[in-house]
Each structure stands twice: as C-alpha cells, then as structure tokens.
Amino acid sequence: MSYLNLPAGIPNFSKAVISFWFRVPQQSLQDTWDIYNAETSRSRLFGIMPLLTFGEKFEGYKIGITPGSESSYTHTSWFTPGSSWAVLTSETITYNTGAVQSQGESFDCDPSFVGIEVRTETADDDTEVLKGYLKVYLQTASNGSPSNVSQNLRLSIGDRNTGAASGSALGTFLETHWDYLLDMCAMEDAAPNNPWVITRTPSEDISDLILQQYGPDAFDVATNIEVKPDVWHHVLISFDVSAATAVTGFRVWDEYGACPGRSSRWPVRTETQSTFENPSKIWIAFDDKHYEGDDLRPPVDAGGIRLELGPNDILSRNSITAAQSINGGSHDNAWDVTGSWVQQTFDSGPPATYSLEPVKLPAMGQPFGIPASADLAGKIHKVEMAEFQMWLDVTLDTYYTSKRRAFLAHPLGVEPKDLLDADGNPILDPSTAEPQRNSKGKPIIDSDTGRPVPDMDTAQPKKDPTGMAPVDPKKAASMMKKQPEILLHMSKNWKIGKNTGSYQDGVTVYDTDDPGSSSTFLPGKFEPTGDIKTWKPDPKVGETVGKTVDS
C-alpha cells in the first residue's frame, strides 16, 4: 500500500478547516467490509476506510461484571391458632446484593480520523447492499468531569413477615395500605413486624469507569452522507471543539405514596429533563451540499425527548451518555396479599452531570497520515485523492455558497439552481425527449423549426454539462486570510510528500507562551511510502472515468 506520513504530527488544535477530493473504488469498500468481517476482535479503524488519520491513540476496555456479595433475610410465616399470632415457619433466604462492574479486557481505540464507515443495508428487493457513509471522529485526551452517570447499585432486603389472620383473630391486626389488585386502599390484617423494607441504592459512583471504557472523550460524527463509490467527491469539513460543554442527565421519580391520598395505581411522576449548554460545532459540505441536523449527526434522544441541538451542534460521546443517563427510581408502599406490606425504594441517585472543558485534539508527536498513518497502514485501501488543504485554529461555515466556491466551482459558471425551475423542480431537457407522434405513429414536425415536437413527458432532467471542479488554492487562502498549514497541491507534490502550506518547513511548538520555554520541532514534509501514482483526469464532482498514468 502507499501513504503519506508526518511522523511527528502537527500542533495540538481545537479548530480546523479541511478540504480535499477523493474517489473510492467499490472494491475498496468491499475490502474494508471483508476485513471487518474477518477480524475476530476489535481493531483500530474497525469497519472504517480511512482518508485521514491523526492524533493520539488510546486503549479502552470492556466492562467486566462480577456477582456482588451475598446477604440474607429471614422469612417468617405466621398464623393465628387463637386470638394472637404464632410463628408457623421461619427460613433464611439468601440473595445477591447486585452485580459489580469493573474494568475488563482492554482493546485499541481509534485515533482521530476522517473516513468512510462501511455498512450493509437491505435494498427494496431484500438484497444486502454495501454502502459507505462519511464519518468524522475527533479523539480528545480529556476524560471530562462526570458524576452519577453510572453507579454500582446495591440491593438490600429486610426481614419478611407473612401470614393471614383467621378465626377469632380476624380483623384484629388491621393496617391500611394500597392494594394493587383492587386498585384502592384496603384495610387488612397484617402479620407482625411489617413492613417488608426493600431498597436498591447506589453504593459507588462508577461514572469514570463507564465513560472511560472507550478511552478519553471523543466526538463521533457518524453522518448520514452517503459516499458513492467510483465517483469523485469533494468534502469540506470544519469543526470547533473549544466549547466548555456542560450536560445534565434525565431523572424520573415515581412516588406511589400510601393511603390516604392516592387515587389510582399510577404514581405521581416527577421528571427532570436532560439539558446541555454550549455544545461544540461541526460544519460539513459534501459535493457542494451543506449538511445540517440529522443528516450531519444522529439525533440525540434523552429520556424519550429529543435534545434541541442546533443545526451544526455536536456533543461529545461522554456528553451524550450523560444526557441519556436516566437516574431516579420509585418509592412504593403496597399490600402484599400474603399478609405483609412492602416498602420499596429504588433510587439510582440525582441526575447525571458531565462537563468537558475546552480541549485541544492531541495531535503533536502523533503521526498524521493520508489516507492513514504508518501504524494503521493495514487499513489502507486503494483510493484516489487530490487537493488536500488544512487550516488550524480557524473555522468556516459551509452553509455559505460563496465560501464553498473558494474550493470548488463550475467551470462554466452553471449553478445547481440554474438546473431548477422557480418551483424547485428539475428543468427538463427537450433534446432527451421522444417526439410527439400523430395517429399514424409518425413524428409531428414543428413547422417553424422543421424539427420534431418533443414529448416533454419523456424528457430527462437537464444535466450539469461540466461538474464542479477544484478551484485554485490561492482563492481559499485569500478567503481564509492565511495560507493553509498543510497544502498538497498537484500530483507531483503528493508523490514526494511536499507540503506547500505554511508548515512546509516545519513548525516549532513551545511548551508555554514563554518563548524561552522548551520546544519541539515538528517537520512539515510528508514521508511518502509505497507507490503513489498520478491519476488523470483531474477530479470533478461525479466524475467516474480515469486511470493512473505512471507509477
């Protein structure tokens, strides 16, 4: 395989703009899928065809579950041989106080990447179709600050006393309680030493254990943008993960209460909905189309309610987990027909909280690879690429057509809107239509033009005659008001790994703002590996044909 590598990486950063062209052969998607299915355990870039990888690589772990300690309670059965209670039987019941979760077997987690997630989907004819979707994964080095996202819960069961009064004792030991079967308050004889108290409450906050199982926090942007194989695409990505995000989880409390004051079997429910503040952002345009909302990243439901994320808002993995965390429980006070009444309290605690301070992606000292770094070369598959540009510490809203035009444009100036009528419907091309025919089946000729009259019902939509093509990188640099830090322009530079961006001679990163502090030099020239071939013709959106021209 072949690839370009910056072994020492680039400075840590929190904002970026990335633009490049790529074309993925169908066979490469198939190869990615085959490797995914052949691997017996999780590996890095599992089911992902990489286009760009960078940043630190962490390990995660599976969650091990072991049985908790055992405890016991005494179940005493009473009866009334006369006018008072007497013990009929007594036995000790052993129970487990609940499973304990702990750190289990480790596995490798992904570094940051831009790639294609390969999936199979069921087509209308029930056949499995292989598809690729654009995915952006941004791995931070921060674990954030969680609480109550997950707990080890402990079950505690008190002594149980059951039995029914009879004979002269009947009606002597009345207690009023809610009766589920009758759906009302009832007064019944209750055995001695009631209630039967059952609780399940947190014994240990294991939020760190649960959240860190996939490594430090990350932004997993699994888009709904399909990457069709064998055609050229342009992708323009920008993101900003410098936000200080705060999240609270969902809490629900069901108070079943007790007699009197209860109207039905349904509890009084108190809910606290999930909240989030200050999310991070990502902007993506693919083939000149700006994506937002559910097409950009999956919706986030928390407690059955969709979080009102803005069109370009993204939450980190841990933030989503915390927002979706449901804590709470119920308190109940109910009749058990065997002569006891039960007080149950299940409470997993207050709402989860999570905060992620502004982060920088840990890219320094870590290989930066196109399509992947050397240590991930086994996941590289054949791919054509062109015109890679990357700016650090700036963002770009891809919503704006004028900004997208700094990266790709129609050579003849034809805009997509020019192919639509005033109602937004495709304009039909008369030249593709069948001629209208008379009753004898002969084409009707327009007397003015001498040409057949087109049957527009058979016409095809007017097509863009050109396709969108790369724009001179100077345009983007002018718009961004600075040179890209990384620029791979022209195939001759790709082949030798020559970065013509502002980092072409490398960059010195100081440990602190003090210029006298110790520093690290990061070379700016890529190390090419393997056979990187020139490809022609130049990319255009939707272009399918092409071939390599040398080796």
């Binding site: 089911g47 009879s166 009302m184 308050c185 109207s263 086994g378 791919v383 195939s491």
Partner: protein, 198 residues
C-alpha cells in the same frame, strides 16, 4: 449491519423507572401436608378469593376530586395534549427609504441568519371531560413566520461573481490527483506498513 468504532455507551438503567418496580402478584397456593400447612393454605386461598371477588372494601379514604357542594362541575384537570414547534432561521433584513419617492424597501441578506427553535402553541384539555371537540381546552399560541424552516431543501446563496472568477480554461501544469494503492506494488501487502519511499 453497522461497522462500529468505539460506540457510544449507555448507562445501566434502562427504560422508565416505574418498570423497575416489581408488582405484587397473587401468591401460589401451596400443597397442605399437615395441620399447620393446611391452615396456611386455607388462609392463602381465603386471601386470593377475597382479592378476586370483593370489589369494595372498608376505609377507602381517598376523597377524589369533587367540587364543593352545590358548585356543579368538577374542577378541570389539565393535561397537555399538543405542542407545536417552529425550527428554522430568520435572515438579516435591512430597510431603506428612497429619498425621492419615500418608498421603503426591505432587503434580505441570506448570508446572515439566526437559528430559531420556538414553541408556537400549547394546548391543554380537561381530563375530567374526556377528549372531544367540546372538551374544555386551554390554549396559548403565538404565530410568526420564520424566513426559512429547518429542512428547507433550497438554501443556497447567489453565486458571487465579483469575488470568484470563473475557472474556465484553467490549465494546471500537472495533474492534480494521485492514487494510493493497497497491496500490489512496492508498498507490500495488507497489514504491512512498510515499503520504500519514492
């Protein structure tokens, strides 16, 4: 199938908390083998029969919702029955007045927009009356059109000829694209990161 990469985790509590609470059930009726167990069995049968057959009981102290004597209808019990949201954008508008004619015009700049998520209408119904057209309802509404609703398919801004020249007849000195290989050639086979530099 979805090829996962370090998927998002979920915490251990799933579903409504009310589902976590076990409910009382009718007890199994044990077989009697001696006098004590017979007494126990009879008592349990008695309880089960009472649970099944009796539909009233003493001391049902829940008063229920009822108006003071002579007040007629019961108090309404409001249930939220409907919410309308608007999600979309408003664009920046500038109003200008022609000095000569005094005519006022509004220009919309779609390059400047604000994302809006707004509740337009909430509707409550009286749960004491069931739901029908005649149900007593409590409604609050606010309606003001946004400039563009979330999900509108066409939201492109005009091509800016003054900033970006057309790229007709651009001739690069070299081709732009390259192909990265995946196995054949000097780079080596799958799983191998080695290979000579060019």
């Amino acid at each position: 199938m979805t090829a996962p990469t370090c998927p998002t985790s979920r915490n251990q509590v799933r579903g409504p908390a009310s589902e976590l609470t076990p409910r009382a059930r009718l007890p199994a009726i044990p077989t009697a083998t001696d006098l004590p167990s017979l007494i126990r069995t009879v008592n349990i049968i008695r309880d089960v029969l009472r649970q099944i057959t009796i539909n009233t009981t003493i001391n049902n102290v829940w008063p229920g919702l009822s108006p003071p004597p002579g007040r007629g209808k019961s108090y309404p019990t409001w249930f939220l029955t409907h919410i309308d949201h608007s999600i979309g954008f408003v664009f920046n508008k500038t109003r200008t007045t022609d000095a000569g004619s005094g005519q006022r015009t509004t220009d919309t700049d779609k390059e400047q927009r604000v994302y809006i998520a707004r509740t337009d209408r909430v509707e409550f119904a009286d749960g004491n009356e069931g739901t029908s057209d005649k149900t007593n309802r409590f409604i609050w509404s606010y309606k003001k059109n946004l400039d563009s609703w979330y999900g509108d398919p066409v939201r492109t801004s005009p091509f800016q000829e003054d900033f970006f020249e057309r790229i007709v007849n651009v001739k690069w000195k070299d081709y732009l694209a390259v192909e990265f290989g995946d196995g054949a050639g000097p780079g080596g086979g799958a799983g191998n990161g080695g290979g000579p530099s060019l």
